[in-house]
């Protein structure tokens, strides 16, 4: 292992290609933490954004005018403002309005930290798109199929759970897939509020070591790999949900 690390140090001395995060223990640790942070942040945001999508689509079908308006306002706000500015706004504006709690180092800090706010604002951001996607999926389920369910005596909730949602899910998977890929790409923005994810760490490392090109190339491949894994597993899921004799291909 050490020899492997040393080889990269040698690489730097010989060629100037400086991959500190391989041979420098401190940088390596940071980079691994950053990588894990990106994955963790992505997973948590994926989860919540899908939940928001499902609930939001359900609320949008609500008979109450104000519920629908609220959901629409939410969607418009998040779709039409830059996510980077949203993050700032949430973290510094809304975040500081929350009650403070005592911290274990003796001070008082706002209730939610930067990771929590990154999750909240990125989930709401991606969720705004997911609501749209889910609603389109639900609309794709023909009324006649829903009628068939109610003609069999299923209640509204039973129909939603057993018929509408499973069918809608199959229609929207490609779109959802795409949206989630974008979510993973967008987690890079969390660096702005100091969530130590991959870009944040890379930024620190290239500032310390003046090796921007190397770090950028590494980042690019790391993200392509992450997105690749996501796309692959979503495709597998899509295939496993495929109904025989149904669908375009």
């Amino acid at each position: 292992m050490e020899a492997f690390f040393e080889w990269f140090r040698w690489l730097y001395d010989e060629t100037g290609i400086n991959l500190t995060f391989v041979y420098d223990a401190y940088d390596r640790e940071r980079m691994i933490d950053g990588f894990l942070m990106t994955i963790w942040l992505s997973l948590v945001c994926l989860f919540f954004s899908v939940i928001i999508g499902i609930v939001g689509a359900w609320l949008q079908g609500s008979p109450l005018k104000w519920t629908r308006r609220l959901v629409n306002g939410y969607i418009q706000f998040f779709r039409n403002t830059p996510p980077l500015v949203q993050l700032y706004f949430f973290y510094f504006a809304v975040g500081n309005l929350l009650p403070k709690v005592a911290t274990d180092y003796g001070g008082e800090a706002p209730l939610l930290g930067n990771f929590a706010w990154a999750v909240i604002s990125l989930s709401f951001f991606a969720g705004a798109f997911n609501v749209e996607i889910f609603r389109a999926g639900i609309e794709a389920v023909p009324r006649s199929t829903v009628e068939a369910a109610s003609a069999l005596g299923l209640t509204r909730l039973q129909t939603y759970r057993h018929v509408t949602l499973p069918l809608a899910f199959r229609v929207i998977l490609p779109a959802l897939n795409n949206n989630l890929v974008n979510l993973v790409k967008t987690t890079t923005l969390a660096y702005a509020i100091a969530v130590p994810e991959m870009l944040y760490v890379a930024n620190q490392i290239w500032s310390d070591n003046v090796n921007v090109p190397e770090m950028m190339i590494f980042l690019l491949f790391a993200y392509i790999a992450l997105v690749g894994i996501l796309v692959w597993s979503m495709n597998r899921w899509e295939r496993s949900l495929k109904i025989p004799g149904f669908g375009t291909s």
Binding site: N96, A109, A192, A194, Q204
Partner: protein, 255 residues
Amino acid sequence: APVARADIIDVVKKRGVLKVGVKADYKPYGFRDPSGKIVGIEPELAKEVADKLGVKVEFIPVVSSNRMQFLQQGKIDLMIATMTDRPDRRKVVWIVTPNYYSSGTNILAPKKFGFKKWEDLRGKPVCGIQGAFYNKKTGKEFGAKIVAFKGTAEVYNALKAGRCVAFVYDDSALVAQLQSPEWKDYEMPLPTIDDAPWGIAVRHGEKRFHHFMADMIRGWHASGRILELEKKWGVANTPFAKAMHAEWRYFETGK
């Protein structure tokens, strides 16, 4: 291999414009006024260089992560951008000696915490600026958890909100900040470390320009120009500037 190119002083004179990379978010060393112009101590120094060369000056705003690239690429001819003079940076660009300025690292922290030594920061969240070199040291040697933001405005906000216990930064900037009544409950309690000089940089291989700049800097120190500028922009005279003035005045004038 570096391509042989025309001497930069000739190029600048022919072009009639000197392009200087300066900070635009580092009050009072380089920042914007409401008209969008970049002003501050460093832009004034840059202006003097241009005057000496008999050309106009153009300020290009840079940040820590791109300033050396810009110089290498030739996008700027000269960099006066609060850059600490460090050996690994000298591999990339030519840093002019003598150094023109210096600053150490210290923290801004609420008085109530009563920090006494750097080790007190261990395990606690400490705010910083993204890309600053002392982040690594503060994290690695003193065990603080660095929470770095892009600009000082964000950091001051986070510090006040209690998201971190201290702000690790250049002591000169912190001293300026402490003069505001808004920060009366805060202090700069630790011994300044890493008192490291700032370097003006030129591209690798620009021998003539390097000499030219070295003369400029010596002149500034000898004449007390730096001390003057500090006063003008509301900074207490730093020991480094005083010492350099004393040294170079003696050297030049024998007094």
